[in-house]
Symmetry: C2
Subunit: 427 residues, 2 copies
């Protein structure tokens, strides 16, 4: 069976695979173009990944940072949304192949298929050190974190109790830093009054990083500030140490064994299988190497954008895997498609780095705008306002603002729910 | 190992199993009494079950109707919360036995262990017709409902598409009526603009009831009004028909086979194993038959309350399995424990029926206060205000009010998330 977009066959068919920041932006920006668009995603929702760590740490509810894709595109009658898994691309016949065997024909294809976390050849670590890319990852992490405190409350052996109250985050990029800071505050501020047998102030949060500093993508002084701020709220920062083992008992780095029942992986990603589908050149992390116009070499009708590709910024460094970069690429591809339909040749993609933000804890964040660098309370307010601004819809903005307000004023986190299983998961 | 409540051994030890409406109310009302309390629940959260159907129909988020139990009791230093499964009661040695073998000693025990949905000897129907008692039940139902529309959008066979767009709710008590009304509105109002290949107005919502009317617990004229209102928003109400088969293809009642891919069970409940633990008399639904002072026959130090017991109201009818009844019982038991500690004998429990409420759809509800009966818009507003009032905490009240406002004004439901699995679950 073939799913045709419900449009006259004369309309140029654009198929977008993946409705993350890049794919969705591309669909938005194609508004008004003489095209029939099909958006395919294996999830029914677009996810605001920059705040996913707040779901994992019980600060936000899943529905506050995710929206049904077809709802976001409901007013665009030329857009069809498909909830399906893509298995490959038949570039010869210009069709996307779905897992169930159906195919979707395209005139122009946009691959925006993203990344998953990766374990550098140690996939066996995943059960012990889960990563954070999807809503399910976030609720799984939330369950593990909350269950660890519950088990500690009931544990009488001091050594086992200490292991239950030790949280190790591997990788000190923005996600690792944000998780470490939030878990430390969760333990110290939110949970402290709720337990009777444990002192949650004794919780150890350990951030292990293979490189020489935290937040390597930021300026040196901001990294130093972030590290000092983390240490100030009780996070132990361990640099220049690669983890060599993850197990049910803890981690090993540099020969040191650290007993810990909760490990979180924030150390690396691997791109989707897009490069494999097209037998296209890719880097070590499987990122597809696209041409300066973001097309796949040898496939002028196939664009690839976002975290799943690697492309150089004007300064020669790779474009970072962040939401604004994916959005710029989505916007560029939409403009390119429009230009081509008018017989024009688009100029190459040029990335503009607008800045990097990371929250460290309550009233602490760092912002690196290149020339302007901010830190502390001011940066934290800008961080908060920027994230609320980039959320979709007034309703979610209100809802997140209320959640943050409560967290700010009362140290209360609304989403402290252990779901998917009863206390059996705790055993 | 034995978990002792952290109190002088002289304090009277009260153990409450189950932190639903009854158990939690009992813990609240014991405030100030010279007791050491242990609250045991297999969930980490108290659930506001009356609004659970709104999570199942994507109107509310899980965190809007659930609160961590230990958070609710954080200010009570004499209360210890245990996240654990109870496996039985050793009444001889006055100990609650946990699944992991630990025991918790009590002087007075309060069993408030609730109910699960029951299939009247047809447990094999559960995979096809899931019920609604827990947060996980609700997110599972939400996924099934949303995935059915997604699959219908992609289905080209008209018969299979019709089956995907047919939703059968079995049982027309408040939960069944509320689910039927909300699913009809979800299809008609919320989802209609989002799909391209299906007309969600053609969704069939069928409510099958074995008895002669919907909302059997309400007055006759309110039942008739509820039925007319349901039919008005497109729900097909089928009365006096017992379902004789549930399968992956649909249901059979009275020899009629109805093709439907989504079935929901709202037809009956079975009490917890509390009666079994104590070898105590129980009714057909396993409800423990308690004495007029809510103690278990032969066990004056064990109270049982809420949905898991059966006890007669002053008019001779059984006390209904609703939140206010459980709360009254929790309050009564707390007062009884206090009275006993002062050497007094408490009077028997007397149930006061304050009324029954059910929402049918937007601007439609029925309220049966006995002498006063309300229906329509006024009843709907009272229903909404009452439910917001009974929620715990300003934050959740605000959050639910905003969710309802958006739903009311814009027909938008914020929590339309398919989680726990990618599109694979749709296959």
């Amino acid at each position: 069976m073939t799913m045709e977009a419900p449009r006259p066959v004369t309309a140029h068919r654009v198929v977008i695979v993946g409705a993350g920041f890049g794919g969705l932006e591309c669909a938005y920006r194609l508004k008004g173009a003489p095209v029939a668009i099909t958006v395919i995603d294996r999830r029914n929702h677009h996810l605001f990944q920059p705040l996913l760590y707040q779901v994992a740490t019980a600060s936000l509810a899943t529905s506050e940072i995710a929206w049904p894709i077809r709802y976001l595109l409901r007013d665009r009658s030329e857009v069809t949304t498909l909830f399906a898994n893509v298995n490959g691309v038949d570039a010869t016949n210009k069709r996307v192949v779905l897992e169930d065997g159906d195919t979707v024909p395209y005139d122009t294809l946009v691959l925006a298929t993203g990344v998953r976390h990766a374990y550098f050849g140690h996939d066996e670590w995943e059960p012990f050190a889960p990563g954070l890319k999807t809503l399910e990852d976030a609720t799984t992490l939330r369950r593990r974190i909350l269950v660890a405190f519950e088990r500690a409350e009931k544990e009488t052996d001091p050594e086992r109790r200490a292991a239950l109250l030790t949280f190790v985050i591997i990788g000190a990029g923005p996600t690792g830093v944000e998780l470490a800071g939030t878990i430390a505050e969760l333990a110290k501020d939110t949970l402290a009054p709720d337990f009777r047998n444990i002192d949650t102030h004794k919780t150890r949060v350990v951030l292990v990083e293979a490189g020489p500093r935290v937040l390597a993508g930021f300026a040196d002084d901001l990294s130093a500030y972030a590290q000092a701020s983390l240490e100030n709220i009780g996070v132990e920062v361990i640099l220049n140490q690669a983890v060599t083992e993850c197990s049910a008992d803890g981690v090993v780095y540099n020969g040191t064994r650290l007993q810990a029942k909760t490990l979180i992986w924030a150390a690396g990603v691997r791109a989707s299988r897009a490069a494999e589908w097209l037998d296209a050149p890719a880097d070590r992390a499987s990122r597809l190497q696209v041409l300066p116009d973001l097309t796949v070499p040898g496939h002028p009708d196939i664009f690839a954008i976002g975290d799943t590709v690697t492309v150089a910024a004007p300064d020669g460094t790779p474009v970072p895997g962040i939401a604004p970069a994916a959005k710029q690429q989505g916007r560029y591809v939409a403009a390119s498609i429009k230009a081509r339909l008018q017989g024009k040749a688009p100029a190459p993609f040029r990335y503009h780095h607008s800045g990097s933000l990371a929250q460290i804890g309550k009233r602490k964040a760092v912002i690196d705008f290149g020339t302007i660098k901010l830190r502390g309370t001011i940066a934290w307010w800008i961080w908060g306002v920027a994230h609320i601004y980039f959320l979709i819809g007034l309703r979610n903005r209100l809802s997140v603002a209320i959640s943050w307000l409560w967290n700010y004023i009362r140290d209360q986190r609304a989403a402290r729910l252990i779901t998917q299983g009863s206390s059996k998961v705790a055993r």
